[in-house]
Amino acid sequence: MNPLSHIINSTDLPVMKPFNYTVSAALQARDIVKFSLNKRTALVLILVLTAWLGIDAAYAQVQGDPNQTILQTLIKWTPLMFFGPPNEFGGFVLNITVSFIAMAMGTFMGLWVGIGQVSPNKIIRRASWLTTQLFRNSPWLVLLFYFMFLLPYTVEIGGIRYDIPGWIKATFALSLPIMANLSEIVRGAINSIPTGQWESAQSLGFTRRQILWQIILPQCIKRMIPPWMNWYCILTMATPLISILGVNDGMTLTQHALAAEARSEFLIPMYLWLMTWFFIYSYPIALYTQRFERRFTITT
């Protein structure tokens, strides 16, 4: 007998204890504050910012238009870039909205397709596999174009015509690769649960459906959270793709603002400004993901 067998056999499940979500969230928040309050980092940032503002003002003077500093221009365009045109849905807020809805749809569909991939029914299993592979291995941009032109511009329900906004079609298109990738995550998580869990549940008289939903999937959730969050970040970063299809997202509006200003020196700061928003939004999520992954590997 293997002398280590009692250790190996003691458990092969990485996570046994339930998360204390509130405690973990509090720890996270403290970490982020710690990051932002790191004194040396803050000092360097302030110095760079001050120097940049000085150069910015001086440069505007030289250009002969002191009210057109880069800072002032950024401030001027920020409401448009962030919230979109007045009385219209757009801007960075639209990017986030699209990411939310596409993620929700992708998660919902991905769960079912993933479960389909382990179905005892061969047809369902094959169809789920094909769906997964199809959307997992297609370029997102191609999918976007495809669904932009494939889906109708208007639908008629009960004699009334409704326009389908471009961003909704784009959201649907983006949810498909998320669906496919989550399907793989779900399949992998289900397969990672030791077969002993199935067998012991079977021997207690549980049906296959009960075993899946009440015993296997609850154990999968913890394993799926880090990759799920990771895919959310990737999706959020990919939302500016929809600007190519003429949706008024943050990217499109930044381009509009630049076109209106027609000054090439604004190019770098304006895009940097947009990138900063994405960074500020995504970085905490990335930190959470790392924390979850660490917890996941340590807990035995």
Binding site: H6, N9, M16, K17, S200, S203, L204, Q214
Partner: protein, 251 residues
């Protein structure tokens, strides 16, 4: 499940010429034996001799290629059989405990009665607490499996099976993954079960335990029963050279 043709004077489990293969590999090559109600049966033999496969066939976790397995007169090897009904009556405990790690000890014990037997919460909890007491784990009700030792987990697994009020218990090398000290606490639990008249089929390497507790011992090797008999006869008057060799190595 039709049990009207069966009465307790007949074997509760009856195997006749059971053959089982995994692909080309034949692991059971014609196993025949009967188990009477209240008997304790120990199946021993070298690794890979098909012991675990054998008892996993009794609750239809594994199917068989030919032969017959009857539980309370009902053919287990029948495609029409309601396996869920069978498994409600046949408890099984595994080497790896296989507790549900996302549930506490108490919830592990309560889960099947509530979800499978549709008992109400209070009734199931009352019974689960009694079973936890029976396996001497009072105070561990709210612990998760990961917080319990191997022996404790195994006792929760036994309680979990007993919660279904099975007619028979199958134990698949349940002490093989435990430390020598914790083996005892699990065996004590089984001893009590046997004393209460529970029919038990054990696959085990615990020879001392088999000697003390078994009504009948079966020695399997290479998919067949090589020798069997009551413990005294089996351990002292083994005739087959394979049995003798095995016993000389293990004792």
């Amino acid at each position: 499940m039709n049990t009207s043709t069966w009465d307790s004077a007949q074997p509760i489990v009856s195997l006749k010429d059971v053959h089982k293969s995994f692909g080309d590999l034949e692991v059971l090559k014609g196993i025949t034996f009967d188990v009477m109600k209240g008997e304790v049966i120990c199946i021993i033999g070298p690794s890979g001799s098909g012991k675990s496969t054998l008892i996993r066939c009794i609750n239809a976790l594994n199917d068989i290629q030919s032969g017959s397995i009857k539980f309370q007169g009902q053919e287990v090897h029948d495609p029409e059989l309601d396996k869920l009904e069978l498994r409600k009556k046949v408890g099984m405990v595994f080497q790896q405990y296989n507790l549900f790690p996302h549930k506490t000890a108490l919830e592990n014990v309560m889960m099947a009665p509530i979800k499978v037997l549709k008992q109400n919460q209070e009734e199931a909890e009352k019974m689960a607490r009694a079973l936890i007491r029976k396996v001497r784990l009072v105070g561990k009700e709210d612990s998760y499996p990961g917080e319990l030792s191997g022996g404790q987990q195994q006792r929760v697994a036994i309680a979990r099976s007993l919660a279904m009020s099975p007619h028979i218990m199958l134990f698949d090398e349940i002490t093989a993954a435990l430390d020598p000290e914790t083996v005892k606490e699990v065996l004590v639990t089984i001893k009590e079960l046997a004393a209460e008249g529970m029919t038990c089929i054990l696959v085990t390497h615990e020879m001392g335990f088999a000697k003390e507790l078994a009504d009948h011992i079966y020695f399997t090797d290479n998919g067949v029963i090589v020798e069997h008999g009551p413990p005294n006869e089996f351990f002292n008057k083994a005739k087959d050279p394979r049995t003798k060799e095995f016993l000389s190595q293990i004792l």
